[in-house]
């Protein structure tokens, strides 16, 4: 196997007596979708926080694109090609959809210590931003304040913002959260179309989506990765059934 795009090596994070991340070693290869599943409280969010740089691990290392990024601040990781979407929708409500994406483009267009030129007519930002909106199918909503978009549209906007920097890896924290069936299906189709071009680490509760999309699945329980493999392997895994899938009868 070639060197993975992202890999963690025995990552540990403790909160007091609670082992939120217990020696987790996972990797994501270029172009693949690796899904991370686990019941509530399994430590998915803590793990994502360490990958993005919002949470400092107690020990272990994170490597991305051939570089140790364990201690790198968030914005430096982003510039290496690691983008994320948020579990709780985090679009910037006071700006329009287009402005949200234009800001994401701006983040990758050199420094922003530019005080005088009006950004609203800046096609070098708005052009690519419009393109990203088209890609996620939001171009008709470009001029609307992000706060006025529907929940599903805001999730799409999240993805458009993450894509604006042309990342090699997308960290998708529950992209389908709160979506209706139809919207979920559209998002699944969209992510499938992205597959191959960008690697994704998908954190998702929707088992349908996970088994449709993922090349590999890792199951996290109490901070530990109890199993990792192809969807078929995970489905057949006894420990996973016991710990997780069987509980809520969600075996697909």
């Amino acid at each position: 196997m070639t060197v993975p795009l992202l890999s963690t090596d025995r990552l540990v994070k403790r909160y007091g007596g609670l082992l939120a991340t217990d020696n987790v070693s996972i990797d994501v290869a270029s172009g693949e979708i690796h899904a991370l599943i686990g019941p509530n409280g399994a430590g998915k969010t803590t793990l994502v926080g360490q990958l993005t740089g919002n949470v400092a691990p107690d020990s272990g290392t994170i490597r991305f694109a051939g570089q140790d990024i364990t201690r790198l601040p968030t914005h430096r990781r982003v510039h290496l090609g690691l983008a994320r979407s948020f579990q709780i929708t985090s679009v910037l409500g006071e700006f329009t959809a287009l402005e949200n994406v234009a800001l994401a483009v701006q983040a990758h267009a050199g420094h922003s210590f530019r005080f005088l030129r009006d950004v609203r007519g800046d096609e070098s930002l708005r052009g690519p931003a419009r393109h990203c909106l088209e890609e996620v199918g939001l171009d008709a909503r470009a001029g609307m304040p992000a706060s006025a978009l529907s929940h599903g549209e805001q999730r799409q906007l999240e993805i458009a913002m993450a894509l604006a920097g042309d990342p090699s890896l997308l960290l998708l924290d529950e992209p389908m959260a709160g979506m209706g069936v139809e919207e979920s299906q559209r998002m699944i189709a969209f992510l499938r179309a992205l597959k191959g071009r960008r690697a994704m680490l998908l954190i998702e509760h929707d088992m349908d989506a996970v088994f449709q999309l993922a090349d590999r699945i890792t199951v996290l329980v109490y901070g530990r990765a109890i199993a990792s493999g192809t969807p078929a392997e995970i489905r057949a895994d006894e420990a996973v059934r016991r710990a997780y899938l069987g509980d809520d009868g969600m075996v697909a």
Binding site: N54, H75, F86, S90, V91, F115, R117, G165
Partner: protein, 322 residues
């Protein structure tokens, strides 16, 4: 331009700027010298309020020590003047540099905190300078220091009230111009984005701290400019100009006028001083002696604005153009 005049906001703005531009002529024509000094203070406080708005309104950072820049700008001028350096060409750049450096320093320390802690630490730094100012016995201590106004030989005489007023007005126009450009620049969008969600901005790849520090520093520099002008207005500096009450007044002005709007601080300063000047005599008319308690009316007015007009005076003028 012409179309903008048809909106209430455009009309009011044009009217205010017009009146401010010719205020010395008006006060002369109606023989109301005192009003010119009120006008001068409004203009200077507007500059400070616009500068506070850069971080408070656009950046969402509640700095509770902004009046410290009145003091820094003012004392820099005052101390130089006390040592016989009376040239404005030296005083003003030095004062601006000191205010900028001080802003960078407190910004670097206080921006590591959030929310209530940020409020407390900016207040603490301001109080620190306030007490240092009070302890400077050589420069008047708590009583303050009478200074001679900055000299710009041959160019402008700051002792001439109308000339000084116009200088302040020009400074206000410059500050507003910069703030207007700033708000819609790449930099301004980063600051505004970080106000609504700084984690999001970091996840987009922005080193948010650096941008906030720059904004804080710029804001302090303009605050220092207001301090320079304030010292020259009264030919006097004292610790009182940077007391926490003044910092509070500045926040009130920005909130009253409309946070995160270009002209809100100007509206706020005018309303603030108009109320401060007119409420006492009005209440005295109702009953002699009531004027002393004008804040009993002023306070509830602020509460009403906070409750029913979240965007301040600016929001009462209709929706802003996108």
């Amino acid at each position: 331009m012409i179309a903008a005049l048809r909106t209430p906001r455009g009309l009011l703005t044009a009217l205010i700027l017009l009146v401010l531009a010719v205020l010395p002529l008006l006060t002369q024509a109606f023989d109301q010298r005192y009003l010119l000094s009120v006008g001068t203070r409004i203009v200077i406080w507007s500059i400070a309020a616009v500068s506070l708005n850069m971080i408070l309104g656009y950046g969402g950072l509640v700095s509770f020590g902004h009046a410290v820049f009145f003091g820094i700008g003012g004392y820099a001028v005052g101390i130089l003047s006390a040592h016989g350096v009376s040239s404005g060409w030296i005083q003003w750049p030095v004062a601006l540099a000191v205010a900028t450096l001080w802003a960078a320093l407190i910004g670097a320390l206080s921006l590591r905190t959030r929310g209530l802690y940020f409020i407390m630490i900016t207040l603490a730094f301001a109080q620190l300078v306030y007490y240092v100012g009070g302890g400077l016995e050589a420069y008047g201590g708590d009583d303050g220091l009478n200074i001679s106004r900055s000299r710009f030989s041959g160019l402008i005489d700051l002792r001439d009230k109308p000339s000084f007023y116009w200088l302040c007005f020009a400074a206000l126009c410059g500050t507003l111009w910069f703030c207007g450009r700033f708000a819609n620049s790449r930099f301004g969008y980063v600051i505004r984005g970080a106000k609504s969600n700084d984690l999001r901005m970091m996840a987009l790849g922005f080193p948010v701290f650096r941008y906030r520090l720059a904004a804080f520093t710029i804001s302090g520099a303009f605050g220092g400019l207001a301090g320079i002008l304030l010292a020259n207005e009264g030919a006097y500096v004292s610790p009182a100009m940077m007391s926490w009450v003044k910092s509070g007044d500045l926040i009130v002005i920005v909130v009253l006028g409309g946070m995160g709007t270009l002209l809100g601080p100007l509206f706020g300063a005018i309303a603030f001083f108009a109320l401060e000047e007119s409420l006492p005599p009005l209440l005295d008319l109702l009953r002699k002696g009531w004027g002393e308690y004008w804040q009993i009316v002023f306070g509830p007015l602020l509460v009403l604005i906070a409750l029913y007009a979240r965007g301040g005076i600016d929001s009462l003028l209709g929706r802003r153009a996108p």
